[in-house]
């Protein structure tokens, strides 16, 4: 049995080591805000004022075995968006407003049922949870075409769309939301999808900000310290480009 690419293995183990150490050392470091966290809860209030449900669409976010690095980021959206869904459900339960979800991932559909039910229960109004508001669709096309229909039928007043949508199809739903004048909170896994969110969304978070949402929803200092630790890895990579680049250029390496 041979080890393949030892250098990647070292970076792999090193990254975890840095973040684990950061979880102790960097507690209390101040972090910048992520706009979509507060805005998502605000979306529930906006929908309440308009008297419409909130659309919560996460697209393909969920369990996958794509076995590539983009599959990894998709998986990492699961805990973040589920925590957000729970937080929104608490507010929705309190304000008696429906959250209509849209997902094309079976495991995520089942998990969102669990998290949403818990959120409504935490609001003190478990009876306001309706499992039929969790919409699973067999593929991305069914998801998008049905979302558009739901937006028009319910005249949706606010939407939170944080997840993944095939081939920037998220913008088809955004365009439908524009016709109802809905508030749009968005963040996408893929950078090209995120460009569409940048074009249309009222509140936008992108890349790792979306993965970090769970850490922002808790008062625990440890997750935030780990987020601060990410900056050390980014700094290291920047250093590799600048210092390593100079050394390569000068022929030292």
């Amino acid at each position: 049995m041979a080890i393949v690419r030892l250098d990647i293995l070292i970076v792999f183990v090193g990254s975890f080591a840095v973040l684990l150490i950061s979880s102790f050392v960097l507690r209390g470091v101040k972090l910048r805000m992520i706009p979509t966290v507060e805005a998502s809860i605000e979306a529930v209030r906006v929908a309440t004022e308009k008297g419409t449900p909130v659309l919560f669409d996460t697209g393909w976010t969920g369990a996958n075995f794509w076995g590539n690095s983009t599959g990894l980021t998709t998986l990492c959206f699961v805990p973040a968006t589920l925590e957000l869904l729970k937080a929104m459900s608490v507010e929705a339960g309190r304000l008696d407003v429906r959250i209509i979800t849209g997902t094309r991932n079976p495991v995520y559909a089942l998990m969102s049922r669990d998290f949403m039910e818990a959120g409504y229960a935490m609001s003190g109004h478990p009876d306001r949870f309706n499992p039929d508001d969790i919409n699973f669709y067999p593929d991305n096309t069914a998801l998008i075409i049905s979302d558009v229909e739901l937006v028009h039928r319910h005249n949706i007043g606010a939407a939170v769309m944080i997840g993944g949508h095939s081939q920037t199809s998220n913008i088809v739903v955004y365009e439908a939301l524009a016709t109802t004048g809905a508030m749009l909170v968005a963040g996408e896994i893929w950078p090209n999808d995120n460009s569409m969110a940048a074009l249309c969304a009222d509140y936008l978070s992108f890349a790792e900000e979306n993965v970090a949402i769970g850490a922002y929803l808790t008062d625990d200092p440890v997750p935030k310290a780990i987020l601060a630790g990410e900056d050390i890895i980014k700094g290291f990579l920047i250093g590799v480009v600048i210092i390593g680049g100079a050394l390569f250029g000068l022929g030292v390496l």
């Binding site: 794509w66 076995g67 983009t70 599959g71």
Partner: protein, 292 residues
């Protein structure tokens, strides 16, 4: 619904459909600059490339008689076919003309259905399995589930994991597969159709030369892989098809799409400028009204 007036955005939709219809009826040819990644794509097929992520480097000498080319239809080709059709067709024709041995895999039923409906009948007739090339110059694995995890396993042996092709033939009985089994060493070139993740499995570990084809905008999310050198060339969209037609001299139908793109491009630039000028003039007149 409000009445249909000039500021109604539905005019935009009507305008775009009108442009597409006219472009489809009467296409004309245009001067076309060739993107660097398309030149790289053709150069890799024509002249070859060196891949040196791992030691020792691998030297690929271009596609010739018997070159083992695996085509991995593992992205969202079902959604993009209308933007990839001509590029895939012309490249496939070129590979056939050069005598390549082509192994095809599709990662989802809908991708398989798309190729079965639109590509394979064009290349090998209504029943590809009955074509004389089948088993000798072309093998279709069809849809095999497992995504890139499957590719991870195929690196050691295709036949050990997947004993049959798309038509139920035993792979071991097909002559082409005798030397096309252990992908990490026996695949000379991979061409991804909107495929992702191949770089981490094959390129960085086994120096497999990798080319990529996608829709016009696939370049936006695959740019990393080209800029970082994993992809040795890319061919994007119907425009990529037109570029390859020019480079290879193989005739095709890609240029029909360029007239549409040109008209849309001009209209969009004009509209953006006009709307901005209108906005600026409205703003100015509002300011002067306030001053007076």
């Amino acid at each position: 619904m409000s009445s249909l007036n000039l500021s109604d955005k539905r005019w935009i939709y009507i305008l775009i459909f009108a442009i597409i219809t006219v472009s489809s009826i009467a296409p004309i040819a245009f001067p076309l600059p060739i993107m660097q990644w398309s030149k790289d794509f053709y150069a890799t097929i024509d002249e070859g490339v060196v891949v040196d992520f791992a030691d020792p480097p691998r030297e690929f000498e271009g596609v010739g008689e018997g070159t083992r080319v695996m085509i991995l239809c593992s992205g969202e080709v079902d959604k993009l076919w209308g933007d990839m059709s001509e590029a895939v067709t012309v490249v496939w024709k070129d590979l056939k003309a050069r005598g390549a041995n082509i192994l095809l895999w599709t990662s989802s039923p809908s991708n398989e259905a798309t190729l079965n409906k639109y590509l394979l009948p064009l290349m090998y007739g209504p029943r590809p399995q009955d074509h004389p090339d089948y088993g000798v110059k072309f093998v279709n694995l069809g849809y095999v589930a497992g995504g890139n995890g499957l590719l991870e396993q195929w690196k050691d042996s295709v036949m050990a994991i997947t004993p049959n092709d798309a038509y139920g033939n035993n792979l071991a009985d097909l002559p082409m597969m005798e030397t096309f089994d252990e992908l990490k060493t026996e695949c000379d070139l991979m061409i991804g159709l909107d495929a992702r993740g191949l770089e981490t499995i094959y390129v960085v570990r086994f120096n497999t030369p990798l080319l990529e084809m996608g829709g016009t905008d696939s370049a936006s999310y695959l740019a990393l892989s080209y800029t970082a050198g994993y992809f040795k060339g890319m061919l994007m969209g119907q425009r990529g098809g037109a570029e390859y037609e020019l480079l290879s001299g193989i005739p095709g139908k890609s240029f029909a799409y360029l007239q549409n793109a040109l008209t849309i491009g001009i209209v969009m630039i004009v509209l953006m400028v006009v709307m901005n000028v209108r906005w600026y003039l409205t703003k100015e007149s509002q300011v002067s009204e306030e001053v007076s």
